[in-house]
Subunit: 300 residues, 2 copies
């Protein structure tokens, strides 16, 4: 079933111990949709500037991603520059130029309106809510957010959480949102705000799913080299939600497998700069790594 | 098969967000032996002062632990005081009084000399080596160490590592020992120093086993309340090595189960102050939690 994702499509300049790349194709919606496209149809809602041209468009099309919801407007696309020289787990942001993204007002193509799966990537919760309300047919809605919205736009964020089926955030965000350092207690507090399921991502240590009174922990793959962790969380979300959307029903067993697929896609994302690795995977490669994750965690 | 463990037996004063306890029975060899005692026979080599009396002795005897290798000497036992008020993952040491431990010279009772399993808890590597050499019959030798020995007693530590079958350390120690921040590369470098198997503990995120070219990741249990993390690592080691020693052979499948038992025992240790929880477990409780860990990580 088709997923509609709303979020950023951007250019990123990234420096890591492995090197530096200028103006890679990036943005949460980009990573999410590339990742989810290996599991199901994906439709993107975003805004880009004149620097987003046929070359970038072609990368989405190569993955059969519907880009009719990407609005082209005068100006420059969202630009981010950051480094991970000291710590591969946390970006040190140097530049954030919102550019055309500053006045983003999501427009939903009519042809997207039958999407039963909706992913609200990390953007202003006011926009997340607007998109959610404009797509009442969506039967499963997942979303992401970040410390900035948690701290300074809490009221708007709480409105979004009320309508979420699944929230995906990291440890720090979960603790900040709940005001509680214990992860189990924080998870309970966050779920009381609305989300029926909560995925807390632990970076190189994997992720934990809190769902229906049960807890499930997926590992991350211990990687020989982390070339670039940018987009790993969005790629996790794409694999997780893409797999959920590809299944006839979302049973607990399907949720568990979705956690593994999320971790699998997050691990691929780190292996090359930007979305490079996410552009050219194959489903057999993905399933081979899925089996590696099983091997990594299962007793026999 | 019997394990001989050499290490500290101490008194700990501990403050955590859950409260404060004065002079709990503690020390690495104490946690290790209580934990391992649920799986196999345990013999302790340590030194204590006059403050270690019949009451303390009785706690070891209740777990059927052989204490004939605990030397009683004039003076006070090793005393440690620390708190975890800011961060449950890292102790803030207030007092370390080595006392009788400062001149510890391990004496191995003859009746211990048939032990096929030897655990060298975190003590001066010069002593670890001396004990290892005095017990040549030991067919499986595991050990622990800490940042202090890695930094300031590296040469002596490297001699110990050459003779180890299994080293158990945490992330920070592995990175420091290898001089490499990438955990996979660090693991390879550490194994090149001697240990055939390496267990890297990640605190609340579990632990990873690097053994025979394979990687296995055991989770930690997400705990509603961490009362006191003191000794969790030593309890992990006790469960891990105790289970290994209880098995007729150490196959890869047995190593995996040992990782789970290690995590299980580490999770129990955190639930009460000091060794309180480790004193009164039952094997059915342990196996019930083992199954919970399986549930937490297995797809179906």
């Amino acid at each position: 079933m088709a997923i509609t994702v709303v979020g950023s499509v951007a250019f990123d300049t990234i420096e890591t111990p492995a090197g530096k790349r200028e103006r890679c194709l990036g943005g949460a919606a980009t990573y999410f949709s590339f990742s989810a496209s290996y599991f199901t149809d994906v439709r993107v809602i975003a805004v880009v500037g004149e620097d987003f041209g046929k070359r970038q468009e072609a990368v989405f099309q190569a993955r059969n991603i519907d880009t009719r919801g990407i609005e082209h407007t005068a100006g420059k696309s969202f630009f981010w520059e950051g480094s991970y020289l000291e710590n591969l787990n946390e970006a040190n942001t140097r530049i954030t130029d919102l550019n055309v993204f500053a006045s983003f007002n999501p427009k939903i193509p009519d042809i997207y309106r039958d999407s039963e799966y909706l992913f609200l990537a990390n953007i202003d919760p006011v926009l997340q809510r607007r998109v959610r309300e404009a797509m009442p047919q969506a039967k499963l809605v997942a979303g992401d957010t970040m410390n900035y919205w948690i701290k300074d736009h809490r009221a708007a964020l709480l409105e979004v959480l009320k309508g979420l089926d699944i929230l995906l955030i990291n440890d720090t965000e979960a603790r900040m949102l709940a005001g509680n350092n214990n992860l189990v207690q924080a998870a309970r507090a966050v779920k009381a705000l609305g989300p029926k399921a909560l995925v807390i991502k632990h970076g190189e240590y994997g992720a934990t799913l809190f769902h229906g009174g049960r807890t499930f922990r997926a590992p991350a793959l211990p990687l020989e080299e982390v070339v670039d962790p940018t987009g790993a969380g969005d790629s996790f979300a794409g694999g997780f939600f893409g797999y959920l959307a590809s299944q006839p029903e979302q049973s607990p067993a399907v949720f568990r497998r979705a956690m593994f697929y999320g971790s699998v896609m997050g691990s691929f994302a780190c292996e090359r700069f930007g979305t490079e690795r996410m552009q050219k995977l194959t489903r057999p490669e993905i399933d081979e790594r899925f089996n590696l994750f099983r091997e990594l965690t299962h007793l026999a």
